[in-house]
Every structure is written in C-alpha cells, then in structure tokens.
Symmetry: C2
Subunit: 359 residues, 2 copies
Amino acid sequence: MTAFCLESGVLADGRQILYFNTADGAGRASFADKRDLGERARAGHMRHDVLRDEWIAVSAGRNARPQLPVDCPLCPSRDGELTEVPAPDYEVAVFENRFPSFGGAPGESGHTHGIEVSAPATGRCEVVCFSADHDASLVDLPPERVALVVAAQAQRTADLAARGDVEQVFCFENRGVEIGVTLHHPHGQIYGYPYVTPQTSRHLDAARRHRDETGRNLFGDILEAERKGPRVVAANDLWTAFVPYAARWPFEVHLYPNERFADLTELPSAYIEAFAPLYLDVLRRFDAAFPEGRMPYMAGWHQAPVREGRDLAWLRLEIVSNRRAAGKVKFLASSESVMGGFVNDLGPEKAAQILKDAL
Amino acid sequence: MTAFCLESGVLADGRQILYFNTADGAGRASFADKRDLGERARAGHMRHDVLRDEWIAVSAGRNARPQLPVDCPLCPSRDGELTEVPAPDYEVAVFENRFPSFGGAPGESGHTHGIEVSAPATGRCEVVCFSADHDASLVDLPPERVALVVAAQAQRTADLAARGDVEQVFCFENRGVEIGVTLHHPHGQIYGYPYVTPQTSRHLDAARRHRDETGRNLFGDILEAERKGPRVVAANDLWTAFVPYAARWPFEVHLYPNERFADLTELPSAYIEAFAPLYLDVLRRFDAAFPEGRMPYMAGWHQAPVREGRDLAWLRLEIVSNRRAAGKVKFLASSESVMGGFVNDLGPEKAAQILKDAL
C-alpha cells in the first residue's frame, strides 16, 4: 500500500517537482510548466543569536508570498489556469517552495564580524500537496492516501538527508487561518534545516542525561508511563496517541510508534499503514471537540537529526492546537514568547477527556 | 518625579491592591470592595517537562477568565459599577490577578511518580493598571506617568523578590487583540515565577560562557556593537533602542540602559526619567509604521533572577510585534512553535529603517 511510483519534473524557474503515484505510467512529469516565473528566488542567510546560541533565518523574500490568493497555486493546472503543479491531476505532489526560508538559488555567503556571525541559509524547503481536491482536508482523505503522504515524507527525508547541507528534516502541516496558513489547499511542508533545531537539541540532551543516569531510553520510559495512564486518546497494536503529562498547549497529542525508530526512513510499511487510520481518528476527534468544527492545528514529525543523536531519538508525531475553549484561542503572549514560561489553561487530563468523548 | 506615595488595600476575596500616587493623602485604600466575589481562586500546579527540563504551569481556573467583557473590570468603581479597583479614581493601581497562573490561595501540593514530577504553582501574578482612562494606551500617557509605571514595577520587583517563593520577576504588557489581550483597558502584568524561565537561563548561560572566554560582559559587548551599527532606532544619553542583529520577530526593539543594572530595583531615578520619553518615542514609531495604526505588541523587562546570575544580567526592555507587513501578521507556526526554528520574514535592517522613517 505504501509503495509508490515516483516521477520527477522541473518547474519554469528550475525548481524540482515530484509526483508520488499509486500506479505506474501516470506520465505527470511530462507536462511542462508554461509560466514565465522570472528568476528563481535567492536564498537568504542565517544569523547567530548570541544570547540563545540559535540560528535565525532572515528571509526577506518570503514577505512577498501570497496570502489566501483567489487562484490557488496548489491546484493542478487546468483549463489554462497555470499553477505550481503543471499536471492536470495528481495524488501527492511535492515541489520546492517558491518562497523558501532555506535554500533556493545560491544566495549570500556568511561572515563573522565580532559577535555578529552569519551563514548562508542553505538547506531546502518543500511543499507537499496532499490531494488535488482544493476543498478537502487531510482528515477527509482515505487512510491509503495518508499512508502515501507519509511514504512521500519518508522518501523526502531520505533524499534531503543525503544532501550535504541538511542537518535535520522536519515534515509538518499548519492547518487553519488561526495558525497563519496562507493557502487553504490541503498541504504540508518540509524544512530541511542546515542546523539541528533548538527543541530537538533539548530533547536529545535530556535523553542523553536520562540514558547516562538510568541506562534506558527516555522516550521509551515516557511511552511506558503514558500507556498506563489516563491520557491515552487512541491506540492500536503499533501506535499510541496520548496527551503528554506536561503538555504546553491546551490540545496537544503525541503519536508514538510502540517501538523505537530514529526517523521515517526506518519506519516499516506495517507501521505506516497502522499510523494512517489512527492519525485520522485523532484528527476527527480534534474536529469534533467543539461545535464550531474544524480545529486549527500544527502537526509535525519529530525525527532524529541526520548526523547526531540517532541512537537516542524516537520518531513521533506531535499535533497541537491553540484552541483553548469554544471560540477562544490560546495566544503565546509575553510569558511564552519572551520568557519561554508556558501556561496550560485547560489541563492535560481535561483535554484527553474531551478528545476521548468527542467521537 | 519617580517618587510615589503607596497605599495598600484588600479586595473582597483577600487579594491585595496597591495604589501608586504622585501626591500624599489620596485616601484611595479607604474605599472598600463591596462585591461578593466568593472564594478566592486556588493556585494550580506545575509539571516538569522532562523532554525540555522546563516547568509548565497548569492553571485550569484561568480558562474561565473574561474575554473582552462589556463592563471593564479595570476601570475605577463609579456610579455603582463595582470593579477590581474600589477607588473612584487612580493613577497607577496594582492588584493580584483574580485568574492567576502562579500563586493565589494555597493549592495543590507537588508529587513525584517516576518521571512525572509536579510542584505547587507558588509565586504571584499581578495586574498593573496604567491609567484610569479606559480608552488610553500607554503611548498616549505623559512621560511622568510612564515613569510612575516603571517606579511601580521596580517596587513590585523588590517586594516579590523578598518573598521566598519567587525566583524571577517579569513585568510586561500585551497590547492588541492580535496578541491575545482579553481586556482593552491600558494595563500590564507582573509574573513572579517560582522558577528561572528558560529564556533567561539561556541568556545567562551565554553570558557566563562569554565572560569565561573573554572576561567581558556579553550584553555590554552587544550594546557596544549595536551602538555603532545601522539598527539604532532611537537613543538618548542614558538609553539605546535598537533592532538586534538576530531579531526573531519582524519588529523587535531592545532598549538597553547604557550602564549595567541587574534589575529595576537598581535603576536610578535619572534612568527611569530618561527611559520614559525614549520608550514613548519607540512606541509612537511602532504605531506610525503602518497606515492601519496601532501595532499589536508584547513588551517586557528582562531582569536578573532573584538569586542567580545577578553579576551577569543586564536589565533591558524588549518590545516585539507580530505584524510583518500592512495587514499581515507573523504567526509562530510549526517551525517556531514545535522546533524552535525562527524565520524573520522582514529583516532587522529593514525593520530598523521603517521605524526610523516612521516619525
């Protein structure tokens, strides 16, 4: 089921497009991109935040990206409407982001000037179209399609990891205007970061300390504790979905495979096929939690970095929503945004109960 | 100018209220709170996030707080309309938050159950009303009033630091519905955290490494570099306001005193008096940057923790906005919220130029 046929094409400005098809001979890459896109966007650069020892991508070109345009650029090209996808139909399509935070055409070089240190924003940003149907949402798709999306994410992870300039691959989806999506068409994104992200570094530091102290894997211990506890929202033989003990967000669910894999490239087909229906179940619970319908959410895979911590990491998906009550949104205001001090206004057990009762 | 007369009263449920007056004998604390508030909200608890080694406050009682109510609870009590402020007028009033993230009446105790560790959410949350005028904004107030607000913040910092259960004091303001404010009345807040916040820990770790390597203060080196650079937005003899080299937000300005003070309690009156007009100048630039008028913002003081890093910290105010262009808001979506990977879509020099040109 999670096998696929891959076709690769090139967009008018040189960006790569990939079609993930369930059957051979779709011939989608044979459709040429007839747009005049001009020059490809140049990459920005990164600056070192000396107070936090973190990299900040500076990507002024992104500010011009379209916000909820009338003509959807992620629909297939049909009836003379030329979009980012030249083929007249597709199942799952992946292409390089036209407004990338990382990568693009060769950009600025780095420099060091006292404590001011910059580096080229190498890496790669991709868009993953989940369906040609503009009005669908991931939750509406059949499990086979969700499995194809995950298989595509795994292929992209392997491909980006093989580049010299990517240190971590993050596959994610932002859904809902309350989260800031600029396009409604069902899609996710992939960031191939040229650095290991701060959160992943912290998780791996904690896992390393835990292993040194106990000899055990921290994520395995978390999973074992959660599986016995009151916050499991849904589960099957291979996966467990739970609200974590110390959730930051009013709604936050982590989906762990019951066995350790470092990243999607290690995930066996049986796990991908078992993930899809469980994930759809969790998404349906999110959407049914409040009478106003679809929840805004952010969802992404925590994967091991390409070159470090692979013996410690435990692949898992995290889905969070900023809705804290019917009609109310949790904002990350000063305490969270400036100080990193998180306040959960709902409570993890309450959130788990709402999601369990939702269907 | 920053001297004040302090009056202290008690609200109906036992919470403290303080009036900061410019003249003696205002008699504001003599007005009794005639409301029937019932029992005071109990404190929540904190949970240890083992993956990040951070504390998360769980405060289910806060979810009931009013959102943009018709009758403003921060206006003075007048004509039978009873509010959080019993006096019929005030200059600056500070009271304990009715819906606190930290503190309140004694609450749950902590426990340790394997890797699940919790602690009481001690500490204190306060509301700081900047003016009795419901329709004013801080930017509309005279510099003398802003100085009185800062003097009040300094007094509260000293008072909270003297409690045994506060490790860090954060004085801040969230302004604008795009930031999530639930009350329009001009006000700020104070969090007396029972722990040192993650961001402050990171800053102090960086400062410690820098001192070990160079013998110098990191914040002093940042200030020196920025004062020579292209991102200074405004300055006077005692303060410098600049967009930092590696800003995370499209609009982000840091206001440093030109000399090191660990926190507001150390700040001499001359510095408070020089801060007020400069801060108002920066706020006016924010509001003039885009034709749609008032910018949403978060602003807060970075202060030294109560018991550590006081020889390293450098008091400064940070103001950030999530507006990235006219009519467009920057969301902290998956890359920032889940991975901690920040992307600045505007660019620090561009932001500084917009603010410099705004007035």
